[in-house]
Symmetry: C2
DNA sequence: ATTCAAATGCTACAATGTTGCATCAAAAGC
DNA sequence: GCTTTTGATGCAACATTGTAGCATTTGAAT
């Protein structure tokens, strides 16, 4: 697993915490979808916007804690559910049987992900577009395509650890 | 979720149970990797070989039960772990935070998967090859690519259910 | 300030997967 | 065929991830 994070450290600022926001305002995003503007939702959106890679529920929770924001697991799950439902965020099935979340980009900005099978890290490959129009059996409707490259990231590759496909 | 299966029915033969085996013998496969040839491993391999789509741990367990083979959850997990470790099978991260397993094909036979976001079913798209050589950042090693198409399968699409991205 | 549905924060639970350890059995040696 | 030995199994207990129900709080409309 990939838990080098300082657990519930209230002072340290994780590297995926918001630095600047060249994104649509979280408040506006929420309001535009007819939802209530709450601390939790704002913080979640800003955290996702600032992230350089898809975040796990756990990582987002840590960011909220760092921002001194309510920290109930269920609330966070529901906030994320709502964002996904509204199309603001999207789930991607990172290994480790836990969802990861990222801001949903419009069609043009879709990108692939790289999954390091050694450290479990997932990162966005902005340069690699996801394939678009493959032939599907009759009756199937395509919503979106997800392209995941599996292998070893630069850090893990250098350390040359032996590893399974896991 | 997708649990229409008859739980622990000892008589019914699920549609993914072995019918014929145009595949390498399970015994040989196991022995070739230096493992012990046990009922569990044989049955798991044969089940996977006969399957038309990647199977969840649960589905494999049901197949074992149908074949009157020991049914301990942990044993099955470990058998699957071993197969993956040996490169005989591979895990794919079907949504629903549960792994799915399929026999690992060699390079030429790689295929994409379709994930129905409504019923959770996953099926193999033999005709759709996975993309192969995208540009990766320096230091990254590519092991395999996974292409998942999300949408509604023929059954769900016809029923026209409204559904989230989930 | 009042109202009221939408969000929250409990608690309790479900599903999926893992660890430790005693027991069993596959295949190797005799 | 019998014994040995180590890998595989089975069980119980636990960890992690995610859900459900319900009382309470709060955003924002009046």
């Amino acid at each position: 697993m990939l838990h080098q994070k300082p657990a519930h450290d209230q002072t340290a600022m994780p590297d995926y915490a918001p630095h600047s926001h060249p994104h649509p305002s979280a408040r506006d995003l929420i309001a535009a979808h007819g939802g209530r503007v709450t601390r939790t939702r704002i913080a979640v959106i800003e955290t996702l916007q600032a992230a350089q890679h898809p975040l796990s529920h756990d990582e987002i929770g840590a960011a909220l804690a760092a921002a001194d924001i309510a920290h109930d697991r269920v609330t966070l799950y529901r906030a994320l559910d709502w964002l996904v439902e509204q199309g603001i965020a999207q789930r991607i099935a990172g290994g480790e049987r836990a969802w990861r979340f990222e801001i949903r980009h419009d069609g043009a900005h879709r990108h692939a992900h790289f999954h390091c099978d050694r450290c479990g890290q997932i990162l966005c490959l902005e340069e690699v577009p996801t394939e678009t129009s493959p032939a599907l059996p009759a009756g199937f409707e395509l919503d979106r395509t997800e392209l995941v490259l599996h292998g070893a990231c630069a850090d893990c590759g250098r350390q040359g650890a032996k590893a399974g496909t896991r």
